[in-house]
Symmetry: C2
Subunit: 273 residues, 2 copies
Protein backbone atom coordinates (compact mmCIF):
# COMPACT_ATOMS: atom_id res chain seq x y z
CA UNK A 1 0.00 0.00 0.00
CA UNK A 2 1.38 3.39 -1.05
CA UNK A 3 0.89 6.46 1.16
CA UNK A 4 -1.03 9.33 -0.38
CA UNK A 5 1.17 12.05 -1.89
CA UNK A 6 0.78 15.80 -2.04
CA UNK A 7 -1.00 16.32 -5.34
CA UNK A 8 -4.52 17.77 -5.18
CA UNK A 9 -7.39 16.01 -6.96
CA UNK A 10 -10.52 17.87 -8.01
CA UNK A 11 -13.60 15.66 -7.92
CA UNK A 12 -15.51 17.61 -10.51
CA UNK A 13 -19.25 17.94 -10.93
CA UNK A 14 -21.17 20.07 -13.40
CA UNK A 15 -20.75 23.81 -13.94
CA UNK A 16 -17.84 26.20 -14.02
CA UNK A 17 -16.52 25.70 -10.48
CA UNK A 18 -14.12 22.81 -11.32
CA UNK A 19 -12.39 24.90 -13.99
CA UNK A 20 -12.24 27.94 -11.67
CA UNK A 21 -10.67 25.81 -8.94
CA UNK A 22 -8.28 24.09 -11.37
CA UNK A 23 -7.02 27.49 -12.51
CA UNK A 24 -5.84 28.18 -8.97
CA UNK A 25 -3.88 24.94 -8.64
CA UNK A 26 -0.58 23.67 -10.01
CA UNK A 27 -1.08 20.44 -11.95
CA UNK A 28 -4.32 19.29 -10.35
CA UNK A 29 -5.59 15.80 -11.08
CA UNK A 30 -9.16 16.20 -12.32
CA UNK A 31 -11.66 13.35 -11.93
CA UNK A 32 -15.32 13.51 -12.95
CA UNK A 33 -18.28 11.27 -12.30
CA UNK A 34 -19.43 9.64 -15.53
CA UNK A 35 -22.31 11.66 -16.99
CA UNK A 36 -21.43 14.86 -15.12
CA UNK A 37 -18.70 16.46 -17.25
CA UNK A 38 -17.51 19.86 -16.02
CA UNK A 39 -17.25 22.97 -18.23
CA UNK A 40 -13.89 24.38 -19.28
CA UNK A 41 -11.61 21.66 -17.97
CA UNK A 42 -10.89 18.19 -19.36
CA UNK A 43 -11.00 15.46 -16.72
CA UNK A 44 -7.94 13.21 -16.43
CA UNK A 45 -10.25 10.35 -15.59
CA UNK A 46 -13.96 9.53 -15.32
CA UNK A 47 -15.13 7.26 -12.49
CA UNK A 48 -18.29 5.46 -11.41
CA UNK A 49 -19.66 5.02 -7.90
CA UNK A 50 -19.83 1.25 -8.54
CA UNK A 51 -16.03 1.27 -8.88
CA UNK A 52 -15.21 3.72 -6.15
CA UNK A 53 -12.57 1.53 -4.44
CA UNK A 54 -10.32 1.04 -7.53
CA UNK A 55 -10.82 4.74 -8.34
CA UNK A 56 -9.55 5.71 -4.89
CA UNK A 57 -6.56 3.38 -5.33
CA UNK A 58 -5.88 5.05 -8.68
CA UNK A 59 -5.95 8.51 -7.08
CA UNK A 60 -3.35 7.34 -4.57
CA UNK A 61 -1.20 5.92 -7.40
CA UNK A 62 -1.25 9.35 -9.01
CA UNK A 63 0.32 10.89 -5.91
CA UNK A 64 -2.88 12.55 -4.74
CA UNK A 65 -3.00 13.50 -1.04
CA UNK A 66 -5.76 16.08 -0.91
CA UNK A 67 -9.18 16.02 -2.50
CA UNK A 68 -11.43 18.95 -3.40
CA UNK A 69 -15.12 18.45 -4.29
CA UNK A 70 -16.24 21.04 -6.83
CA UNK A 71 -19.48 21.35 -8.76
CA UNK A 72 -22.96 19.92 -8.70
CA UNK A 73 -23.68 16.20 -8.94
CA UNK A 74 -27.14 14.70 -9.01
CA UNK A 75 -27.73 11.36 -7.34
CA UNK A 76 -26.42 8.76 -9.84
CA UNK A 77 -28.26 5.56 -10.72
CA UNK A 78 -26.29 2.45 -9.81
CA UNK A 79 -25.82 -0.62 -12.00
CA UNK A 80 -25.43 -3.71 -9.76
CA UNK A 81 -23.47 -5.54 -12.49
CA UNK A 82 -20.62 -3.02 -12.36
CA UNK A 83 -19.56 -3.32 -8.72
CA UNK A 84 -16.10 -4.70 -7.95
CA UNK A 85 -15.55 -6.68 -4.76
CA UNK A 86 -13.88 -3.88 -2.78
CA UNK A 87 -16.55 -1.30 -3.66
CA UNK A 88 -19.26 -3.85 -2.82
CA UNK A 89 -17.86 -3.81 0.72
CA UNK A 90 -18.67 -0.09 0.87
CA UNK A 91 -22.31 -0.54 -0.17
CA UNK A 92 -23.75 -1.17 3.31
CA UNK A 93 -22.24 2.16 4.30
CA UNK A 94 -23.19 4.17 1.20
CA UNK A 95 -26.67 2.81 0.60
CA UNK A 96 -28.42 4.44 3.58
CA UNK A 97 -26.71 7.69 2.57
CA UNK A 98 -27.89 7.31 -1.04
CA UNK A 99 -31.43 6.88 0.25
CA UNK A 100 -31.27 9.75 2.74
CA UNK A 101 -30.85 13.50 2.31
CA UNK A 102 -27.99 15.18 0.49
CA UNK A 103 -26.23 15.96 3.74
CA UNK A 104 -26.10 12.32 4.78
CA UNK A 105 -24.74 11.30 1.38
CA UNK A 106 -22.03 13.95 1.38
CA UNK A 107 -20.92 13.08 4.91
CA UNK A 108 -20.66 9.41 3.93
CA UNK A 109 -18.65 10.19 0.79
CA UNK A 110 -16.24 12.42 2.72
CA UNK A 111 -15.87 9.61 5.27
CA UNK A 112 -14.89 7.07 2.62
CA UNK A 113 -12.27 9.39 1.10
CA UNK A 114 -10.84 10.06 4.57
CA UNK A 115 -10.68 6.32 5.31
CA UNK A 116 -8.51 5.94 2.21
CA UNK A 117 -6.11 8.46 3.73
CA UNK A 118 -7.06 11.52 1.70
CA UNK A 119 -7.54 14.92 3.28
CA UNK A 120 -10.76 16.52 2.03
CA UNK A 121 -10.30 20.28 1.67
CA UNK A 122 -12.67 23.15 0.88
CA UNK A 123 -12.68 25.52 -2.10
CA UNK A 124 -11.89 28.41 0.26
CA UNK A 125 -8.53 26.77 1.03
CA UNK A 126 -7.32 26.76 -2.59
CA UNK A 127 -9.24 29.76 -3.98
CA UNK A 128 -10.24 32.16 -1.21
CA UNK A 129 -11.51 34.69 -3.77
CA UNK A 130 -14.31 32.27 -4.64
CA UNK A 131 -15.68 32.42 -1.08
CA UNK A 132 -15.76 36.13 -0.13
CA UNK A 133 -15.37 37.15 3.49
CA UNK A 134 -17.53 39.88 5.05
CA UNK A 135 -18.01 43.12 3.12
CA UNK A 136 -20.07 45.01 0.56
CA UNK A 137 -18.65 44.17 -2.88
CA UNK A 138 -20.62 46.81 -4.76
CA UNK A 139 -23.62 49.13 -4.40
CA UNK A 140 -25.08 50.55 -1.21
CA UNK A 141 -26.76 48.68 1.64
CA UNK A 142 -29.36 50.76 3.50
CA UNK A 143 -30.65 50.18 7.05
CA UNK A 144 -33.83 48.79 5.44
CA UNK A 145 -31.74 46.29 3.46
CA UNK A 146 -29.99 45.34 6.71
CA UNK A 147 -33.35 44.62 8.30
CA UNK A 148 -34.44 42.56 5.28
CA UNK A 149 -31.20 40.57 5.43
CA UNK A 150 -31.60 39.95 9.16
CA UNK A 151 -35.13 38.62 8.59
CA UNK A 152 -33.92 36.50 5.66
CA UNK A 153 -31.09 35.03 7.74
CA UNK A 154 -33.60 34.01 10.43
CA UNK A 155 -35.82 32.39 7.77
CA UNK A 156 -33.02 30.39 6.10
CA UNK A 157 -31.70 29.27 9.50
CA UNK A 158 -35.16 28.06 10.49
CA UNK A 159 -35.58 26.28 7.13
CA UNK A 160 -32.25 24.46 7.42
CA UNK A 161 -33.46 21.43 9.38
CA UNK A 162 -36.39 21.05 6.94
CA UNK A 163 -34.00 20.42 4.02
CA UNK A 164 -36.10 22.35 1.47
CA UNK A 165 -33.67 24.96 0.14
CA UNK A 166 -31.00 27.45 1.02
CA UNK A 167 -32.40 30.81 0.00
CA UNK A 168 -35.29 33.26 0.19
CA UNK A 169 -36.41 36.68 -1.02
CA UNK A 170 -37.39 39.36 1.52
CA UNK A 171 -38.59 42.90 0.81
CA UNK A 172 -39.67 45.43 3.45
CA UNK A 173 -39.61 42.66 6.04
CA UNK A 174 -42.02 40.50 4.01
CA UNK A 175 -41.07 37.07 2.72
CA UNK A 176 -41.88 37.04 -1.00
CA UNK A 177 -40.43 33.60 -1.78
CA UNK A 178 -38.67 30.61 -0.26
CA UNK A 179 -36.32 28.43 -2.28
CA UNK A 180 -37.51 24.86 -2.82
CA UNK A 181 -36.53 22.00 -5.13
CA UNK A 182 -36.79 24.00 -8.40
CA UNK A 183 -33.89 26.20 -7.19
CA UNK A 184 -32.80 29.82 -7.02
CA UNK A 185 -33.48 30.79 -10.63
CA UNK A 186 -37.05 29.46 -10.49
CA UNK A 187 -37.61 31.33 -7.22
CA UNK A 188 -36.43 34.61 -8.77
CA UNK A 189 -38.69 34.05 -11.79
CA UNK A 190 -41.56 33.54 -9.36
CA UNK A 191 -40.84 36.87 -7.69
CA UNK A 192 -40.63 38.64 -11.06
CA UNK A 193 -43.98 37.14 -12.07
CA UNK A 194 -46.06 37.05 -8.90
CA UNK A 195 -44.70 39.46 -6.31
CA UNK A 196 -44.19 42.69 -8.20
CA UNK A 197 -47.06 44.66 -6.66
CA UNK A 198 -46.71 43.33 -3.14
CA UNK A 199 -44.16 45.74 -1.67
CA UNK A 200 -46.39 47.99 0.44
CA UNK A 201 -44.16 51.10 0.50
CA UNK A 202 -43.09 52.51 -2.90
CA UNK A 203 -40.17 54.22 -1.13
CA UNK A 204 -39.21 51.12 0.89
CA UNK A 205 -36.56 48.52 0.10
CA UNK A 206 -36.83 46.75 -3.25
CA UNK A 207 -35.90 43.53 -1.50
CA UNK A 208 -33.01 41.10 -1.64
CA UNK A 209 -32.08 37.56 -2.49
CA UNK A 210 -30.42 35.91 0.50
CA UNK A 211 -28.36 32.71 0.29
CA UNK A 212 -26.76 30.71 3.08
CA UNK A 213 -25.46 27.20 3.67
CA UNK A 214 -27.51 24.99 5.93
CA UNK A 215 -26.80 25.45 9.63
CA UNK A 216 -24.08 22.95 10.57
CA UNK A 217 -23.38 22.04 6.93
CA UNK A 218 -19.90 20.72 6.13
CA UNK A 219 -18.51 23.67 4.16
CA UNK A 220 -16.06 21.50 2.22
CA UNK A 221 -18.83 20.38 -0.10
CA UNK A 222 -21.90 21.65 -1.94
CA UNK A 223 -21.89 25.33 -0.92
CA UNK A 224 -24.63 27.44 -2.50
CA UNK A 225 -23.33 29.52 -5.40
CA UNK A 226 -24.14 32.82 -7.09
CA UNK A 227 -22.83 34.27 -10.34
CA UNK A 228 -23.60 36.70 -13.16
CA UNK A 229 -26.79 34.81 -14.11
CA UNK A 230 -28.06 35.19 -10.53
CA UNK A 231 -27.57 38.95 -10.79
CA UNK A 232 -29.51 39.11 -14.05
CA UNK A 233 -32.47 37.25 -12.59
CA UNK A 234 -32.42 39.25 -9.36
CA UNK A 235 -32.58 42.43 -11.44
CA UNK A 236 -35.52 41.05 -13.44
CA UNK A 237 -37.25 40.32 -10.12
CA UNK A 238 -36.95 44.01 -9.24
CA UNK A 239 -34.67 43.37 -6.27
CA UNK A 240 -32.25 45.89 -4.78
CA UNK A 241 -29.44 43.40 -4.27
CA UNK A 242 -28.08 40.04 -3.20
CA UNK A 243 -26.85 39.24 0.30
CA UNK A 244 -25.36 36.02 1.61
CA UNK A 245 -23.68 34.45 4.62
CA UNK A 246 -20.04 35.53 4.31
CA UNK A 247 -17.69 32.57 3.98
CA UNK A 248 -20.53 30.19 3.18
CA UNK A 249 -21.43 30.97 -0.44
CA UNK A 250 -19.43 30.61 -3.67
CA UNK A 251 -19.11 33.68 -5.89
CA UNK A 252 -18.47 31.92 -9.18
CA UNK A 253 -17.06 34.67 -11.40
CA UNK A 254 -16.30 37.59 -9.15
CA UNK A 255 -15.28 40.18 -11.77
CA UNK A 256 -18.23 39.46 -14.08
CA UNK A 257 -20.70 39.23 -11.20
CA UNK A 258 -19.64 42.53 -9.64
CA UNK A 259 -19.67 44.22 -13.06
CA UNK A 260 -23.18 42.92 -13.79
CA UNK A 261 -24.47 44.01 -10.38
CA UNK A 262 -22.93 47.47 -10.68
CA UNK A 263 -24.42 47.92 -14.14
CA UNK A 264 -27.87 46.86 -12.88
CA UNK A 265 -27.66 49.03 -9.73
CA UNK A 266 -27.71 46.04 -7.37
CA UNK A 267 -25.67 45.66 -4.21
CA UNK A 268 -23.64 42.51 -3.49
CA UNK A 269 -23.14 41.96 0.22
CA UNK A 270 -21.27 39.15 1.98
CA UNK A 271 -22.97 39.55 5.35
CA UNK A 272 -21.27 38.64 8.63
CA UNK A 273 -23.41 35.74 9.86
CA UNK B 1 -75.81 51.13 28.54
CA UNK B 2 -77.82 48.39 26.87
CA UNK B 3 -76.80 44.75 27.23
CA UNK B 4 -75.94 42.93 24.01
CA UNK B 5 -78.83 40.93 22.58
CA UNK B 6 -78.93 37.61 20.77
CA UNK B 7 -78.71 38.64 17.11
CA UNK B 8 -75.60 37.54 15.23
CA UNK B 9 -73.55 40.11 13.30
CA UNK B 10 -71.32 39.12 10.40
CA UNK B 11 -68.26 41.35 10.13
CA UNK B 12 -67.78 40.81 6.42
CA UNK B 13 -64.58 41.01 4.42
CA UNK B 14 -64.05 40.23 0.76
CA UNK B 15 -65.01 37.03 -1.04
CA UNK B 16 -67.93 34.62 -0.87
CA UNK B 17 -67.62 33.53 2.77
CA UNK B 18 -69.87 36.30 4.23
CA UNK B 19 -72.75 35.33 1.91
CA UNK B 20 -72.23 31.61 2.64
CA UNK B 21 -72.34 32.30 6.38
CA UNK B 22 -75.32 34.65 6.07
CA UNK B 23 -77.26 31.91 4.26
CA UNK B 24 -76.95 29.74 7.38
CA UNK B 25 -78.29 32.39 9.76
CA UNK B 26 -81.71 33.80 10.51
CA UNK B 27 -81.73 37.58 10.01
CA UNK B 28 -78.03 38.25 10.47
CA UNK B 29 -76.83 41.84 10.74
CA UNK B 30 -74.14 42.28 8.13
CA UNK B 31 -71.43 44.92 8.57
CA UNK B 32 -68.55 45.51 6.17
CA UNK B 33 -65.37 47.54 6.39
CA UNK B 34 -65.49 50.43 3.93
CA UNK B 35 -63.66 49.44 0.76
CA UNK B 36 -64.01 45.69 1.35
CA UNK B 37 -67.51 44.88 0.08
CA UNK B 38 -68.42 41.18 0.19
CA UNK B 39 -69.87 39.24 -2.76
CA UNK B 40 -73.49 38.10 -2.83
CA UNK B 41 -74.74 39.83 0.29
CA UNK B 42 -75.64 43.49 0.86
CA UNK B 43 -74.20 44.90 4.08
CA UNK B 44 -76.64 46.56 6.47
CA UNK B 45 -73.91 49.01 7.36
CA UNK B 46 -70.36 49.97 6.40
CA UNK B 47 -67.91 50.99 9.14
CA UNK B 48 -64.43 52.45 9.46
CA UNK B 49 -61.70 51.53 11.93
CA UNK B 50 -61.43 55.24 12.87
CA UNK B 51 -65.01 55.04 14.15
CA UNK B 52 -64.89 51.61 15.74
CA UNK B 53 -66.38 52.69 19.09
CA UNK B 54 -69.62 54.20 17.69
CA UNK B 55 -69.89 51.22 15.34
CA UNK B 56 -69.73 48.81 18.29
CA UNK B 57 -72.39 50.86 20.10
CA UNK B 58 -74.53 50.65 16.96
CA UNK B 59 -74.16 46.87 16.83
CA UNK B 60 -75.37 46.68 20.42
CA UNK B 61 -78.34 48.94 19.58
CA UNK B 62 -79.26 46.48 16.84
CA UNK B 63 -79.59 43.69 19.43
CA UNK B 64 -76.38 41.97 18.36
CA UNK B 65 -74.87 39.61 20.96
CA UNK B 66 -72.56 37.43 18.87
CA UNK B 67 -70.09 38.42 16.20
CA UNK B 68 -68.71 36.33 13.36
CA UNK B 69 -65.68 37.46 11.33
CA UNK B 70 -65.95 36.24 7.74
CA UNK B 71 -63.84 37.04 4.71
CA UNK B 72 -60.49 38.61 3.93
CA UNK B 73 -59.59 42.14 4.93
CA UNK B 74 -56.32 43.83 4.06
CA UNK B 75 -54.78 46.24 6.54
CA UNK B 76 -56.73 49.50 6.07
CA UNK B 77 -55.07 52.93 5.89
CA UNK B 78 -56.20 55.21 8.71
CA UNK B 79 -57.23 58.86 8.34
CA UNK B 80 -56.35 60.71 11.58
CA UNK B 81 -59.05 63.32 10.88
CA UNK B 82 -61.86 60.76 11.15
CA UNK B 83 -61.30 59.44 14.68
CA UNK B 84 -63.98 60.10 17.29
CA UNK B 85 -62.99 60.54 20.93
CA UNK B 86 -63.97 57.04 22.11
CA UNK B 87 -62.16 55.28 19.25
CA UNK B 88 -59.12 57.49 19.86
CA UNK B 89 -58.94 55.88 23.31
CA UNK B 90 -58.51 52.50 21.59
CA UNK B 91 -55.60 53.64 19.43
CA UNK B 92 -52.80 52.91 21.93
CA UNK B 93 -54.10 49.35 22.01
CA UNK B 94 -54.71 48.87 18.28
CA UNK B 95 -51.66 50.66 16.92
CA UNK B 96 -49.01 48.11 17.98
CA UNK B 97 -51.29 45.43 16.53
CA UNK B 98 -51.66 47.34 13.24
CA UNK B 99 -47.87 47.51 13.04
CA UNK B 100 -47.30 43.86 13.96
CA UNK B 101 -48.23 40.60 12.28
CA UNK B 102 -51.74 39.59 11.28
CA UNK B 103 -52.08 37.38 14.35
CA UNK B 104 -51.41 40.27 16.72
CA UNK B 105 -53.94 42.47 14.91
CA UNK B 106 -56.67 39.83 14.96
CA UNK B 107 -56.14 39.08 18.64
CA UNK B 108 -56.41 42.79 19.43
CA UNK B 109 -59.60 43.20 17.38
CA UNK B 110 -61.21 40.19 19.05
CA UNK B 111 -60.23 41.64 22.42
CA UNK B 112 -61.95 44.97 21.68
CA UNK B 113 -65.17 43.25 20.56
CA UNK B 114 -65.12 41.11 23.72
CA UNK B 115 -64.60 44.17 25.91
CA UNK B 116 -67.78 45.62 24.41
CA UNK B 117 -69.60 42.51 25.63
CA UNK B 118 -69.87 40.63 22.33
CA UNK B 119 -69.14 36.93 22.03
CA UNK B 120 -66.87 36.26 19.06
CA UNK B 121 -67.81 32.95 17.43
CA UNK B 122 -66.25 30.87 14.65
CA UNK B 123 -67.69 29.93 11.26
CA UNK B 124 -67.72 26.27 12.32
CA UNK B 125 -70.29 27.17 15.01
CA UNK B 126 -72.86 28.52 12.54
CA UNK B 127 -71.97 26.55 9.40
CA UNK B 128 -70.18 23.30 10.28
CA UNK B 129 -70.32 22.17 6.63
CA UNK B 130 -67.89 24.96 5.76
CA UNK B 131 -65.21 23.47 8.04
CA UNK B 132 -65.10 19.74 7.27
CA UNK B 133 -64.06 17.28 9.96
CA UNK B 134 -61.71 14.36 9.23
CA UNK B 135 -62.36 12.26 6.14
CA UNK B 136 -61.72 11.78 2.43
CA UNK B 137 -64.33 13.83 0.55
CA UNK B 138 -63.55 12.38 -2.87
CA UNK B 139 -60.89 10.41 -4.75
CA UNK B 140 -58.40 7.93 -3.32
CA UNK B 141 -55.55 8.62 -0.91
CA UNK B 142 -52.61 6.20 -1.32
CA UNK B 143 -49.94 5.40 1.29
CA UNK B 144 -47.58 7.60 -0.76
CA UNK B 145 -50.05 10.48 -0.49
CA UNK B 146 -50.23 9.87 3.26
CA UNK B 147 -46.44 10.16 3.48
CA UNK B 148 -46.50 13.38 1.41
CA UNK B 149 -49.21 14.84 3.67
CA UNK B 150 -47.27 13.90 6.81
CA UNK B 151 -44.17 15.66 5.45
CA UNK B 152 -46.26 18.68 4.41
CA UNK B 153 -47.84 18.89 7.87
CA UNK B 154 -44.37 18.95 9.45
CA UNK B 155 -43.30 21.71 7.05
CA UNK B 156 -46.33 23.95 7.64
CA UNK B 157 -46.05 23.46 11.41
CA UNK B 158 -42.37 24.48 11.29
CA UNK B 159 -43.21 27.50 9.11
CA UNK B 160 -45.96 28.72 11.46
CA UNK B 161 -43.78 30.79 13.80
CA UNK B 162 -42.07 32.39 10.77
CA UNK B 163 -45.38 33.94 9.62
CA UNK B 164 -44.67 33.43 5.90
CA UNK B 165 -47.67 31.41 4.74
CA UNK B 166 -49.96 28.51 5.53
CA UNK B 167 -49.41 26.02 2.76
CA UNK B 168 -46.94 23.99 0.73
CA UNK B 169 -46.73 21.48 -2.12
CA UNK B 170 -45.07 18.10 -1.54
CA UNK B 171 -44.57 15.28 -4.07
CA UNK B 172 -42.76 12.01 -3.39
CA UNK B 173 -41.49 13.45 -0.12
CA UNK B 174 -39.94 16.46 -1.88
CA UNK B 175 -41.01 20.02 -1.13
CA UNK B 176 -41.80 21.64 -4.50
CA UNK B 177 -43.11 24.95 -3.12
CA UNK B 178 -43.82 26.89 0.05
CA UNK B 179 -46.56 29.48 0.26
CA UNK B 180 -45.38 33.05 0.80
CA UNK B 181 -46.94 36.49 0.48
CA UNK B 182 -48.22 36.04 -3.13
CA UNK B 183 -50.56 33.30 -1.85
CA UNK B 184 -51.83 29.83 -2.73
CA UNK B 185 -52.78 30.50 -6.36
CA UNK B 186 -49.35 31.98 -7.16
CA UNK B 187 -47.68 28.99 -5.49
CA UNK B 188 -49.69 26.53 -7.61
CA UNK B 189 -48.83 28.49 -10.77
CA UNK B 190 -45.16 28.22 -9.76
CA UNK B 191 -45.45 24.44 -9.45
CA UNK B 192 -47.17 24.21 -12.85
CA UNK B 193 -44.44 26.29 -14.42
CA UNK B 194 -41.23 25.27 -12.65
CA UNK B 195 -41.62 21.90 -10.96
CA UNK B 196 -43.15 19.69 -13.64
CA UNK B 197 -40.10 17.55 -14.36
CA UNK B 198 -38.86 17.27 -10.78
CA UNK B 199 -40.80 14.26 -9.53
CA UNK B 200 -38.12 11.53 -9.63
CA UNK B 201 -40.39 8.48 -9.94
CA UNK B 202 -42.88 8.50 -12.86
CA UNK B 203 -44.96 5.95 -10.93
CA UNK B 204 -44.73 7.85 -7.62
CA UNK B 205 -47.23 10.27 -6.13
CA UNK B 206 -48.20 13.30 -8.22
CA UNK B 207 -48.05 15.40 -5.10
CA UNK B 208 -50.49 17.40 -3.05
CA UNK B 209 -51.35 20.88 -1.90
CA UNK B 210 -51.49 21.01 1.89
CA UNK B 211 -53.16 23.80 3.85
CA UNK B 212 -53.28 24.33 7.60
CA UNK B 213 -53.90 27.15 10.05
CA UNK B 214 -50.90 28.42 11.97
CA UNK B 215 -50.09 26.42 15.09
CA UNK B 216 -51.92 28.06 17.97
CA UNK B 217 -53.96 30.31 15.66
CA UNK B 218 -57.33 31.53 16.98
CA UNK B 219 -59.68 29.54 14.75
CA UNK B 220 -62.47 32.10 15.05
CA UNK B 221 -60.82 34.31 12.48
CA UNK B 222 -58.91 34.18 9.19
CA UNK B 223 -58.83 30.42 8.53
CA UNK B 224 -57.18 29.40 5.27
CA UNK B 225 -59.74 28.57 2.58
CA UNK B 226 -60.01 26.36 -0.47
CA UNK B 227 -62.67 26.26 -3.19
CA UNK B 228 -63.33 25.27 -6.81
CA UNK B 229 -60.64 27.68 -8.10
CA UNK B 230 -58.07 25.98 -5.86
CA UNK B 231 -58.97 22.63 -7.41
CA UNK B 232 -58.56 23.99 -10.94
CA UNK B 233 -55.09 25.34 -10.18
CA UNK B 234 -54.02 22.20 -8.35
CA UNK B 235 -55.01 20.18 -11.41
CA UNK B 236 -53.02 22.52 -13.68
CA UNK B 237 -50.03 21.99 -11.37
CA UNK B 238 -50.29 18.24 -12.04
CA UNK B 239 -51.08 17.40 -8.42
CA UNK B 240 -52.91 14.29 -7.25
CA UNK B 241 -55.03 16.07 -4.67
CA UNK B 242 -55.52 18.55 -1.86
CA UNK B 243 -55.12 17.74 1.82
CA UNK B 244 -55.65 19.99 4.82
CA UNK B 245 -55.79 20.05 8.59
CA UNK B 246 -59.32 18.85 9.37
CA UNK B 247 -61.32 21.46 11.29
CA UNK B 248 -58.85 24.20 10.45
CA UNK B 249 -59.58 25.05 6.81
CA UNK B 250 -62.68 26.52 5.14
CA UNK B 251 -64.16 24.63 2.20
CA UNK B 252 -65.92 27.51 0.50
CA UNK B 253 -68.36 25.81 -1.86
CA UNK B 254 -68.43 22.16 -0.91
CA UNK B 255 -70.63 20.79 -3.70
CA UNK B 256 -68.84 22.65 -6.49
CA UNK B 257 -65.39 21.91 -5.05
CA UNK B 258 -66.03 18.18 -4.69
CA UNK B 259 -67.55 18.06 -8.19
CA UNK B 260 -64.55 19.85 -9.69
CA UNK B 261 -62.09 17.58 -7.88
CA UNK B 262 -63.94 14.43 -8.90
CA UNK B 263 -64.03 15.56 -12.52
CA UNK B 264 -60.30 16.32 -12.47
CA UNK B 265 -59.40 13.04 -10.71
CA UNK B 266 -58.11 14.79 -7.58
CA UNK B 267 -58.64 13.65 -4.00
CA UNK B 268 -59.88 16.03 -1.30
CA UNK B 269 -58.79 14.96 2.16
CA UNK B 270 -59.50 16.61 5.51
CA UNK B 271 -56.61 15.03 7.39
CA UNK B 272 -56.75 14.36 11.12
CA UNK B 273 -54.05 16.70 12.47
Amino acid sequence: MISPGQRIAIIAGRGTLPALAAAELEAPFVAALEGFAPEGVAPDVFFRVERLAPFLDHLRDQGVGQVLFAGAVQRPRLDPALFDAATAQLVPRLLPALQGGDDALLRAVIGVFEDWGFQVIGVDQVAPDLVPGPGVLCGMVTPGDERDAARAAILTAALGPLDVGQGCVVAQGLCLAIETLPGTDAMLDFVARSATGLRPDPKGTRGLLYKAPKPGQDRRIDLPAIGPATVARAAEAGLGGIAWAAGGVLLLDRAATVAAASAAGLFLWAREP
